[in-house]
Amino acid sequence: MKFKSRRQFIKEFGLGALGLTTASSVTQLKAINAAYLNNSANELNSDYKAIVCFFLAGGNDSFNMLVPRGNPEYDEYAVTRSDLALSQNELLPITPVTSDGRQYGLNPAMINIHQLFNTGKVSFINNVGPLIEPTTKSSYQNGSAPVPLGLFSHSDQLKNCQTGLPHVRTHFGWGGRMADLLNSMNSNRNVSMNISLAGTNIFQYGETLVEFAIDPFDGSPGITGYDPLSTGFDANRTEGIDLLLGVEHSDMYKKTYTDILKRSLEGSIEFRAAMEQIGSLNTFFSDNRISQSFKRITEVIMARDILGFKRQIFFVRMGGWDMHGELLNSHERNLTVVDNALGEFANGLDETGMFDAVTTFTISDFGRTLTSNGNGSDHAWGGNALVMGGDVRGGDMYGTYPSLALGGALDVHNGVLIPTTPNDSYFAELALWFGVSLSDLSTLFPNIGNFYDTGSSAAPLGFMNI
């Protein structure tokens, strides 16, 4: 192992036990981390990076997010989408750096994202989705191509975009597995590098590392009345809790319960101590779960040196995208929330000088059928995604934007489009930027070789400055 763990370091340098409760503990933390970083035996990249996985749960109707605007492509769109089509003149026009000869626009709700796109901070990934190998309509329909398991089913597609393994049903996420690979870059051993604003999730579930869940509004409240410096009832309570959490259970359920509670308590104490030291964040964040999630993320990033992180992975989940009905109104409402949250997050990161260090990307179960069921759309396959960050090569669209005419080469039924950009390539590029080596890429995404030559010096899609 390249580094000593922080605990080993502390033992060796005689710094004693970590009794963390008050501001003094943060001074200790800072001192420990500073000494750790200065110790020449520890190799660390000096740069910090964070990725934020923004999961739109239910299947984002993303061909109403990124829309053909010029003629004849808009007309094709309008005929296909019938009562779901946005009107041409309300689309927010964008001019991608790379032109494919067609014009595009954004859903009118996306005012902030529109500006971020125009200033080179946001890009889109076209028609992306899970594939095991390049697939055509005929190889799909005649069954000769292996296709992702459980296509069109929420539970399976949720798993596919969070595991990156569409050929098996597993619950280990690619965020968790990246964390397993890269956690040695971090010195903190109490708080996971995977911070979730949405509880336990597949994306961050690794083989050894799992999420540290915090609340979008409250952060990480500790155990009420737990305080080693207290007197009276709370002192007895604290001692009792410590003794209970120290029991070595052989029963696997009891051990798991106790271990999780113990780690959570230790983590929350350390987390809260760090949050007390970060200073103010003046950027406005809306008072809803999503914006507040991004606010918490900004604060945690501000505490990165106090806590001892060089690499962090965040997870935000927003529900309500499964629009089988009331699509136009619901989609506009949801996109407004996303638009505000991402605009606020960009501002917050600018304020703290960390915009270049953070890449935010969206995933969703699937895109939705281009055709209408009378009021909404059904489950489909390929859809459009969004990336935001200082290292994103912004203001562009990556991958092939498909024709939206029905019955085309990619349309397998009802405007369900075979993806033209595989998830593997999308995720691999993010992983490479984040610090995963090319040689580890095939472990992370076993099917990547079907789409991208891992010996190549070119990036899989080219949307990141790697």
Binding site: H171, I223, N236, I260
Partner: protein, 595 residues
């Protein structure tokens, strides 16, 4: 009720020695019974010997009480001491039979009173009428649900109903959050049919407008290819994947059938889903919501805001997909039938699929008893589903008895198996405590709000994050459980937030003595009933023994007991002593894990 119990006790007392479901602790009909954890006990089918964490050295009445408490921890949301006493006397099967006969308590009848009372409180506090929900919403359901589950006698029925609500999932985390009465009537379906037949549950769920909204088969029209409109596939897909047959062909013991290459066999494909989608077309409003000024006739296409969300949907023939429907394994629903004939045929077709017994049976075992039932146990339960002994398929009573009276749930040999047990769901940890210890209400109301517990501890009835319930049935937590390939679904909601959130709720219940509270009136509390337990304050051992009967069902480890005793013995104030004892017991793994 007491007279009835007494009569039954006298009548049945001579039968106590003739229980058909095996031995139990302190059964008394074997004088040489000794209950210790033995390192050479080898449960059937297991590699390792049991290494029990506790030596049970109880006898006589205490043993019976502990065993009764453990049974009730599986069979109810929670039970008080007198219920434990009566089960200890009555015996398990007799108690179940009694529970089968009790009249059900429903949630919906409480909704109107809850709504009217809270609305009046809101107005009295100066609230704006226009800003209050027009009809009962999710918070009113929460209050009514707690009222039922704090005061009811039909304990088994309510436990089964709650388990069914975790399989046939709808949730307030959707537009349903404004339809508290509709969701109450949906939940009442499970109360009504808990001891009925699975087929009726399936039909009623299919026709309920709340399910129609949640899985979008309300107002699902037949194909219109010219407008590129095709039947919505949502309900068809989820009802096969989650409510009936699951993804893969199963043997009776729940294991997957393999093909010639050793691979799993999917039960259906996307074409099948398309065919089933045609079945679930044409269902629309059965009744409209009473409106003050207008009368709206029910019609296909009426949205949920106009519909009476408590009345079943009805079939509108002109919107039902015509033509034959090609379902599974060559089964064809012929053309020319009415829409409801199609629906009934399709549901019957799925009901008769061999997967239902093991698929449904295993999930119900996981809810009530243990996360990793042996294949033999699943098989016995599936057998009871397939035939209740009188040739009837889908009999809930037979399934319930098969689960709760099976030796794998009851016998002390299994009791100490390392794979036995489960993490109690967050809501069960709450209700178990609330019924065991009890609450004091000054006005007879036991209302409680739900979304805080859901946020902080991870769960509240009808607040599932999606149709997949609060946790996947096959979730494996990192650590010794996952490493050995075992399942523990409930751990999916046990994380750094909820593990601490639960502990802080225990603090509220015990230290702050606040058992239940409403959102709208913070003054109206149901206080935790500690008075009886305070009487044991002077004698730590007696106190802990009593709590062991009520809360940990004999699973209190010696070292936990030692820790608690050491910590609380020196405390002089009886309230502090009792509170700290209870608090430490309830946050410990000995309480939260059901063995």
């Amino acid at each position: 009720m007491r007279i009835v119990f007494l009569f039954l006790f006298l009548y049945h007392s001579h039968l106590l020695g003739a229980q058909t479901y095996g031995d139990y602790i302190g059964g008394g009909h074997d004088q040489n019974i000794s209950v210790t954890t033995s390192s050479d006990f080898q449960p059937e089918g297991r590699q390792q010997a049991a290494t029990g964490s506790k030596t049970l050295q109880v006898s006589g009445l205490t043993g019976k009480l502990i065993d009764a408490g453990r049974f009730l921890a599986q069979a109810t949301m929670g039970a008080d001491r007198s219920t434990i006493d009566s089960v200890a006397k009555l015996g398990f099967e007799a108690w179940i039979d009694q529970q089968f006969e009790l009249p059900p308590t429903f949630v919906r009848p409480h909704i109107q009173e809850v709504y009217d009372t809270t609305f009046q409180r809101y107005l009295a506090a100066g609230g704006d009428t226009l800003k209050y929900p027009e009809i009962p919403a999710s918070e009113h359901f929460d209050y009514a649900w707690w009222q039922v589950n704090m005061t009811n006698d039909d304990l088994l029925r309510q436990r089964i109903a709650f388990a069914l609500s975790e399989i046939f999932v709808i949730s307030f985390k959707s537009e349903l959050d404004r339809y508290g009465e509709g969701v109450a009537s949906y939940y009442d379906l499970f109360i009504e049919h808990a001891f009925g037949n699975f087929k009726d549950i399936l039909l009623n769920v299919t026709l309920h407008p709340c399910m129609g909204v949640y899985l979008t088969h309300l107002n699902n029209p037949k194909s219109n290819p010219a407008r590129f409109i095709y039947p919505d596939e949502n309900y068809a897909r989820e009802m096969m994947q989650l409510f009936t047959i699951g993804l893969y062909e199963l043997n009776q013991d729940g294991s997957r059938v393999k093909d010639g290459n050793g691979k799993d066999i999917p039960t259906y494909d996307n074409d099948d889903i398309g065919e089933f989608a045609k079945i679930f077309t044409g269902l629309g409003a059965g009744a409209t919501r009473p409106m003050p000024d207008t009368i709206i006739e029910p019609a296909f296409g009426l949205r949920s805001s106009r519909i009476d969300m408590a009345e079943p949907m009805v079939m509108y023939e002109e919107y039902h997909e015509p033509g034959p429907k090609y379902l599974l394994n060559g089964f064809v629903v012929p053309a020319g039938q009415t829409g409801m004939e199609d629906v009934n045929a399709a549901l019957e077709h799925l009901f008769n699929h061999r997967n239902v017994g093991p698929f449904f049976g295993k999930q119900l075992i996981q809810r009530l008893v243990k996360s990793n039932p042996s294949p033999a146990y699943v098989s016995r339960v599936a057998a009871a589903f397939n035939d209740n002994g009188a040739g009837v398929r889908g009999d809930m009573k037979a399934v319930i008895k098969a689960i709760l009276l099976d030796e794998e749930a009851r016998s002390c040999g299994w009791y100490n198996d390392p794979v036995q047990g489960k993490l109690k769901e967050p809501i069960i940890r709450y209700t178990h405590f609330a019924r065991a210890v009890g609450g004091v209400s000054e006005n007879g109301f036991f209302w409680n709000q739900g979304d805080e517990y859901d946020d902080d501890a991870g769960q509240h009835p009808m607040y599932s994050p999606s149709v997949f319930n609060f946790y996947w049935p096959d979730f494996q937590p990192v650590g010794p459980i996952g490493n050995q390939g075992y399942l523990a679904p409930e751990f999916q909601v046990h994380n750094s937030r909820t593990s601490i959130g639960f502990v802080n709720f225990v603090n509220e219940w015990v230290v702050s003595e606040t058992l239940l509270r409403t959102k709208d009136d913070p003054e109206r509390l149901v206080l935790t009933h500690l008075d009886d337990l305070i009487t044991h304050a002077a004698d730590t051992e007696a106190l802990i023994n009593e709590l062991d009967i009520l809360l940990t069902n004999g699973m209190l480890r010696d070292d936990t007991r030692q820790i608690i005793t050491t910590i609380v013995d020196p405390l002089e104030d009886p309230f502090e002593k009792v509170k700290l004892t209870i608090y430490l017991m309830v946050i410990s793994a000995d309480y939260t894990i059901l063995k």
